[in-house]
């Protein structure tokens, strides 16, 4: 059985942590100088492991195993959110490097802009999956400062470079190791999570129209307060969703905006952003059915009109059973009773790659559940256990 050099793996992570360091975390926005430096550093690491290293026109860094297959693809992303953590993404990339260093037949990839600094989302993984058009790249701009993606690519020296695509049939599957970014593992004293699937987000906008009017001069009986109708609809959703949701579903109202939003004016409009997530399509459909009748019921009772709009309805990415089985066996062998199957509530490159090949993810605990923050952290021994289990699972799966 191949032994993973966990010391070298941790050394890699700590070395990468120095590029764009911010307090105990990292600031490496996509295509920034620090991000490009980390990509060049990664290519050196890949070459040192005997892989053929390259960077493509969207910034994907790829290390191609030179020997025969069957191959696995292992990776994640290497840029970070602003002033954020040192492990989110980097962990999965360096785990790939660790597996390659150990001689396993893996290609390693760092998919550009999983963190979505630029409009579009998952640009790198979608590009390598053949889903990103030139037109979309032309349109995309930085979400923070509006820089066109084309300009950022040019400034990073990537203009005119070809974009790579996955070689059909080359990989038996894709493994991504990642921090949990939640508190489930830590809270239950567990050390590993075998991901069952990546939830789909069904994102909605609810627009409520009433009648703007004077808060003093308009009686309670005659007013058509869109903010109040929104409150009552959201309270009804809060009461009803536990009945219809799945065991691990989440539903969230991220934004409520009243118009005009002044203290003495009855709101004539309310704008709500509401989403729910689950890994099962029947459950998602059940929640949609519930949401729709709650809106219908609101329109039956209220003097304001609610309009429901689906902004996006992603498809859950189900992890491959055989890959999961290999992870579970490896987890049980190395940390008996200290792992659980669980969905990923957050999006990952794996959900894109899953459209092209079997995919699976392995979680390690997040201390305090913190992520997208420079205080993000995981104990060294959990990082080491994770990459060990990943290596063992990769071997099992390749042999199966």
């Amino acid at each position: 059985m191949t032994k993973i050099d966990t010391d070298a793996f941790l050394r890699d992570l700590y070395e990468l942590r120095e590029i764009g360091r911010f307090k105990t975390g990292v600031h490496r926005p996509t295509y920034s100088p620090q991000d490009m430096e980390s990509r060049r550093w990664l290519m050196d690491r890949l070459a040192a492991c005997g892989l053929e290293a390259s960077i493509d026109g969207i910034g994907n860094v790829y290390g191609r195993h030179k020997g025969p297959g069957p191959h696995l693809l292992v990776g994640s992303h290497i840029e970070t959110q602003n002033e954020a953590g040192w492990l989110d993404g980097a962990l999965g990339v360096m785990a790939g490097v660790a597996l390659a260093r150990a001689g396993l037949p893996v290609d390693v990839c760092a998919f550009a802009d999983e963190e979505g600094h630029f409009e579009g989302g998952f640009l790198g993984s979608r590009s390598i999956a053949g889903e990103l058009t030139e037109a979309e790249i032309d349109r995309s701009r930085n979400r923070t400062d509006g820089t066109p993606l084309r300009d950022a690519l040019a400034a990073a020296g990537l203009a005119g470079k070809k974009r790579m695509t996955l070689e059909p049939g080359r990989h038996k599957g894709f493994y991504e190791m990642h921090i949990e970014q939640g508190t489930q593992l830590e809270g239950q004293g567990l050390r590993l999570g075998v991901v069952t699937g990546i939830v789909a987000i069904w994102q909605w906008r609810i627009e409520i129209t009433g009648m703007q009017d004077h808060a003093g001069g308009t009686t309670m009986a005659e007013r058509r307060d869109a903010g109040l109708a929104a409150v009552r609809l959201l309270a009804a959703i809060d009461a009803e969703f536990p009945r219809i949701s799945g065991e691990r579903s989440t539903w969230t109202t991220g934004r409520i905006a009243l118009d005009p939003g002044a203290p003495s004016i009855i709101p004539g409009k309310a704008d709500v952003l509401f989403q729910f997530r689950d890994v099962s399509v029947p459950v998602l459909e059940r929640m949609e059915t519930g949401l729709r009748w709650l809106v219908r019921e609101s329109n039956r009772r209220e003097r304001c009109t609610a309009r429901l709009e689906a902004i996006s309805k992603a498809i859950p990415a189900v992890c491959d059973p055989a890959m999961m089985k290999a992870l579970e066996a490896a987890a049980e062998a190395h940390a008996p009773g200290l792992w659980q199957p669980m969905p990923s509530g957050a999006g990952h490159d794996a959900q894109v790659i899953a459209r092209k090949m079997p995919a699976s993810m392995l979680f390690v605990p997040s201390i305090g559940g913190i992520s997208h923050h420079w205080a993000e952290d995981t104990k060294d021994e959990d990082l080491a256990l994770g990459v060990t289990v990943l290596g063992a699972a990769a071997e099992r799966f390749l042999a199966a």
Copy 2:
């Protein structure tokens, strides 16, 4: 009995409407060139009626009756909201001019910035009541563009002018005629409203603190969603307030803001602006008691903390019974059965002047309840009836 020249009164109103005309309404923000033109025009009208006309350091225009008392004070405001109506304020000022023209012993006043273009509110009436300090004028800025009040006064040619105060004991009472700005009169086929009092606004801020977190990675059981706690508290207020409010109370949530307000982030903070209004202090206190225990109950049940802050608690201005009696008698004489007593849901200069002398208001219908909009309007015959009744009431009250 003194006869009010309603033709001249309407002519005055239509002439004033031309200054700063905007569609069928008027755009005369405080201290703007159009506003200052209207104040000069008003001083001419006051002088033409035999009054001693002046303008003071805050922009109050005053017409002082030259003969013996007892005197009444009659007035309102002459500036408008942006692109708003032709009658809001102007009506009460020209009604004063009409009474003076008819020979009644009235002083007429147009109090500056009742509409609150500058921070502070009711600057003119508070100034003449001796309640506006130089320090407050120093601090005040335009709410729309931040222009310091001092700069606006200087640009209007008012810098260095003394500010007038009411002569103690000179006036038996203050009458303000105003459009209703609601639909009560029109809706019930009535032509006049004898105002019982001006509601006080008790304005609150409710700040709810939870824990910002990932909408996908955080389970429903562990999240501390400040937006949801806000929704549930507001729904509870909506359910409870009808039990404890007064017959004509209003309560309104004008603003809800979730932080950070992003679709995939559980709000860690919610900020709510909530107010209630009534003309009775015991009722206001009952609603405060209710609000406080609803917040306490929220803090008992929720995992988020709600903090209640009183931003302002005005005192209702009760109208003088003798002045009201005179209005009622005049209304019944001129429009039998077509009037009602009613509170004013909106603030007026009368609430400030009421702190210095007996005060009372007379409402005329607003077509469609529209105000603070250029489509604001009232039928000529209702305007004429109103000023006739005001004149008759003034006579009765002076004689009583």
